[in-house]
Structures are given as C-alpha cells and as structure tokens.
Amino acid sequence: MSESTQLHLLKPGQKATITRINGESALRRRFVEMGIVKGETILIERNAPMGDPVEYFIKGYHLALRKEEAAQIEVTLQRGANG
C-alpha cells in the first residue's frame, strides 16, 4: 500500500483504491449513490479538453467528476496493476 492522496491529483491511466470520502453530507450521499465507496477501485480515464472535469471508470461504468469534487475523495494508488 502506498501513501494516501486525493483523486484529482492522479493522472489518466492510473488506478487507485478509495479510502475515504470527505465533503458535505449531501455530496457524499451523491457519491455513494453513484457507487463511490470505500474499498472500491477507480481508474482514471481521461481529462476533458480543458483539463476539467475528469472521466473515471468505476464499478463497470464511466463517470465524470469535476476536480473540485474529486478532491474530496481520498485514495491510495495501486501500483503494478495493468493500468
């Protein structure tokens, strides 16, 4: 396990495990509804043309989040995975 970081700091192609979700309760509930929960693996797919928002792959579907919101999600980078 590597050290903890925030989701918006990762680059396309990287893969991470969600460790903690911060932010207001309504936003966290929104995350949970979309399947963003502790222990889940999330793959960073691509940035939008202007760098923000970012497309992720989680639970078998594609999800876009703004960096501002992704910053509320703490993750640890998965190394060596086939990302």
Binding site: E24, P49, P53
Partner: protein, 560 residues
C-alpha cells in the same frame, strides 16, 4: 409484509441493528402510524437522515419526538463507528452486493475496447473534442432554426390568411357586431397564431434534443463544455440552451429541461434571453442601415457580442447573490454507453413537450394578446393609436426613456408592443410614422381555394426546408441574405427622430430589455411567476442602465 421482505434482510451490524430495533419499539410504543412504509425501512431512513422522509415524518403526530430520538441514535453511531450512518449503511449494502456478484457472476476481461470507447476517443479528445462539439451544435442550430422557418411561415400564413378569413365569413353570417369581429380576428386568432407559430420549431428542437440525449452524446457535450461554462456559474449542459437562444428564447428555455439541478436550470433560463434572438435582428437591420450605413454589419455584430458579455456578467452576479451554487449543482455525471435512440421514445418526447408548451405558455400569450387588443381599441371608436389607452400608456412611459435619448411616445409605444414579440418594434414604428400599411390585397377566395393554398404552402415549406437541409452540409451562407430589404421611407422617418447615438442606445435597449411575453410565459411555466418577474425586472433594469451609459457616455465624449 410481503414475501421478499420476510425472506431477505440485510444485516447492518450489531450497533446499527440495535438502533433500528430501538426505533421500531418506539414506533410501537407511541402507536406511531407509519402509513405505507415498512417500520424497519423507515427506521433506517430516519437514522440516515433522509431529507424527504424527515419532511414526511415531521407532519405525523409524535413525528418530532421520533426524529429527535433518531438523531441522537445517529450521533451515537457516528461517534462509535466514525462515519455518518448513511455512509455506513451504503458500505454494508455495497459489501453485500459485491459478495453476491463475486459468487454468481464472472466478469469478462475488461481490456476489450468497445465502440463507445472508440467514439469517446474522438468526441472527448483533447484537441478534437471542442471542434466536434461546435460542429454538432452548429448543425443542430441550423436544423432547428432554419429547417423550421419555412414551416413557421406556413403556420403563420395559414392562421392569418385562410383561418382568419373563414372566421370573418362565419361572423359575417352571424351578423356579429364590428367589435366582436375585431376581437376574434385580431386578438383571439392573432393570439392563437402567436402560440402556434412556435410549434414547428419546438417539434424539431425536441426531436434533436431527444436524439442527443438518448444517444448519449449530451453527457459528452456537458463533459467537454463544463470547464468553460463554469466561469459563468453554469453547468456543462447549459451550453445547448444558450446556443438555441440565438434562434428563439422560447425553445431555449424549454431546452433547460436536460439539466438536472433546478438552480442551474433557473440561472440558464435567466441568461438565455440575453442571447440575441432572431426576432431582434430586423430591428438591428433597419436601424443599422438607417444610421450606420456601411458599418451596419459591425453594429449588428456588436449587439450579439454585447448580449454575450452582459450574460457573462449577469451569470457571475447571480452566482454570487440570489443563485449560489448548491450541492445539486455538483458535477457527478454518468457517461453512458452510446445507444441507438428508440424512435418511439423520441416521438413521445417531442409530442409531450410541445403539447405542454401550447397548453401552459399558450395561455399567457393569449392573455397578453387580449390585453393588448383592449389597450389599442379603448376607449371605443379611437381612430389613431395616439388617442387609445395604448397611446396614453406609451405617453406615460416615454419620459423614462428621455435620459436614454429616445423619449417620444412613438418610441415608447414601439417598445411596449415589442413586449409581444421583439420584431414588432419595427412594424409598430412604421405604422406610427408612415400610417397604416396598405391593407393586404386579399381577394375573396372560396374555401376550396384556401384549402388548396394551405396544401401547396405546406409542400413549398417542405421543399424549402429540404433545400436548407442540403445547404447545411457544406456549411455555407450563415448570414442574413435579406438584409438589403431596406425600407427607405422608414429610414428617413427614423433619421428625423434619432441621432446615430440615440439609435445606438435604442438598439442596446432593445437587445437587453424585458424578454418577450412568450419567453416570460415559458419561464413562468417552468419555474413559476416569481422567476418570470425576476427575469423581466432585471433585464429591463440592465437595459436601462446600459442604454443610459451608451447615450450619456457618448454625449460626454461629444458623439451626440
């Protein structure tokens, strides 16, 4: 309790289960009537502090006590388990789901590149994403605005030609008095026409919006444009209504329905009317040619640019005052796989939305049309507009415009009629300055001839619209072709009333002032009366200030 519930119960773990049991026994003790909700489910929702359920429970006897107790329980759990109950329960649920999936489903290798991935590689590409988006918008805009316009003209012609003609024949048969004749033909048929004229455009708009939405492209458009729109406090999806606003604000306001957050929808609808719609173009053209000659094009271009700049400033102001972003504006957007839209769902979408416009916004337009008719025709037997209530109202309003450089009652009157539809500003002016336009030479026709005319008109419209459709592909002739249709008599009359500076101030005012009644009807229909009033008031205020700055500023600079 039904079978499924009795067989399956997710275990949330000892501590949470204890709180659930405590709440359930409290329901029993207080004989708390939970209605159709199962007790266990309600207890869980109360511990999760689900806003919707809290609201409902609050209104049931003893509800407040139960909520207070559930809150205490939730606090206790949070201090013990280190997280909010709603996150803890979600963890449990997803944990259970993962377990079931692992036991029963073997996930195929995910490295396979799908068609969706390949389309997205282009559509959301770093360099190609924006050009692709603008190309799609350009095509949709041209299709909605241009392809619908022959049908729009046809609807207009049918209503004001044969339909009005038939009604007057009927009224003549019934020997109806002249005022009923005028009321029916001018106010009712005119008003209904004002509503129905939007129908072809709306049908086409909803068709393409449904295609964009159902195919999955809409989410990509929002993804690509979000960064840009956020500067103004908007959502990625706000871009489409804004573009449509250049055609007509009414379908644009309805196009906000694709945006999920109410706050984002309202802000978009408040800014949409600042995109200079096609109805304002005739005003720019007439004034541009009368006062700015060769530079008319630049002036017209400046009006479009000014509308965009004002919208950006207004967006930033609203975002910091009455429409602060809330959590519902958070950008959490699924990018679904591309799908072929189902024709049936597209057609239902078109039909339902258009029908709703006719029913709801239609009443507002019809009502305004009746009021305008009364103002123009009271007191009874007025000969010219100046002596009617309309003229008096215009005279009262006019001094407000004096500091802007155009204080005549005629200008005031033109602006008042512009509230019905902005292009009417020009026709009112020519009516007042040049007298009534020559009565349309309408030889009496038989109903059969009328019907043939309607049919032919529809065929013509289809052909014209087809031609336009073809011309879109090479992407030629975007700009107005009919700008040369200048009315020299009106130009001369206008030159007596306006200086170039006051004409400029007038154009700025026409660009920004109160949205037309159809747009306000749409805003009222979508967001309620208070937002329609907000829209009318803020735009008029902004228009006044902007025209004041232009006129007085110009005078200080010695331009007037």
């Amino acid at each position: 309790m039904n079978l499924v519930q009795s067989l399956f119960r997710l275990d949330y773990g000892g501590k949470i289960e204890r709180e659930i049991a405590r709440l359930i026994s409290m329901f029993d003790e207080m004989k708390f009537d939970v209605g159709r909700y199962p007790q266990r489910w309600l207890a869980i929702k109360l511990l999760e502090a689900d806003a919707d359920i809290l609201e409902r429970v609050r209104n049931i006897p003893n509800g407040e006590k139960i909520i207070a107790s559930a809150q205490q329980g939730a606090e206790k759990l949070k201090s013990m388990l280190g997280d909010d109950v709603d996150l803890l329960t979600a963890d449990r649920r997803y944990g259970y789901i993962n377990g079931v999936v692992r036991q029963s489903f073997h996930r195929p290798k995910l490295d396979r590149i799908t068609l969706t991935d390949r389309i997205d590689d282009i559509v959301t590409h770093k360099w190609l994403g924006l050009p692709v988006f603008f190309a799609v918008m350009y095509i949709v805009f041209r299709l909605v605005i241009d392809v619908s316009s022959p049908f729009l003209d046809w609807t207009d012609a049918v209503i004001n030609g044969p339909l009005a003609h038939w009604f007057s024949l009927l009224l003549d048969l019934a020997a109806a008095p002249a005022w009923i004749h005028s009321l029916v033909v001018e106010a009712v048929i005119g008003g209904v026409g004002g509503v129905l004229v939007f129908v072809p455009g709306l049908l086409i708009l909803y068709f393409f919006l449904a295609l964009l939405e159902d195919s999955g492209y809409m989410s990509r458009a929002a993804f690509v444009m979000d960064r840009f729109m956020r500067v103004v406090g908007l959502h990625g999806k706000s871009f489409i209504p804004m573009i449509l606003g250049f055609g007509c604000a009414v379908p644009a306001v309805y196009a906000t329905r694709t945006i999920a957050s109410r706050r984002d929808r309202i802000l978009t609808a408040l800014l949409v009317p600042l995109m200079s719609c096609s109805a304002r173009l005739p005003v720019y053209v007439v004034f541009g040619l009368a006062f700015f000659g060769a530079r008319a094009g630049t002036v017209i271009w400046a009006m479009y640019a000014l509308g965009i700049v004002v919208a950006m400033v207004a967006g930033m102001v609203f975002t910091r005052t009455i429409l602060k972003p809330d959590v519902s504006s958070a950008f959490v957007l699924e990018l679904p796989p591309y799908r072929q839209p189902a024709l049936k769902s597209v057609l239902i979408h078109m039909w339902e939305n258009t029908r709703e416009f006719v029913r709801k916004a239609g009443t507002t337009i019809l009502f305004a049309s009746l009021v305008m008719w009364l103002l123009l025709n009271l007191p009874w037997g007025v000969e010219n507009q100046r002596d009617s209530y309309f003229g008096k109202v215009s005279g009262v309003i006019a001094p407000v415009f004096t500091p802007l450089g155009f204080g005549g009652w005629e200008t005031g009157g033109a602006l008042v009629t512009g509230f019905m539809a902005k292009e009417i500003v020009v026709s009112t002016m020519s009516q007042i300055y040049l007298g009534d336009e020559e009565a349309q030479a309408s030889e009496p026709k038989t109903i059969g001839e009328d019907l043939i005319g309607i049919g032919q008109g529809f065929m013509d419209a289809t052909v014209r619209s087809g031609r336009i459709l073809l011309s879109i592909i090479p992407g030629v002739n975007l700009m107005v072709e009919d700008a040369q249709g200048e009315d020299t008599a009106l130009s001369l009359a206008l030159q007596k009333q306006f200086t170039p500076l006051s004409a400029m101030a007038f154009l700025v005012f026409v660009l920004l002032y109160v949205p037309c009644v159809a747009t306000l009807g749409a805003i009222k229909h979508e967001f309620g009366m208070s937002w329609a009033v907000t829209s009318a008031v803020y735009q008029t205020a902004v228009a006044w200030v902007a025209a004041f700055v232009v006129y007085q500023g110009g005078r200080l600079l010695g331009l007037g």
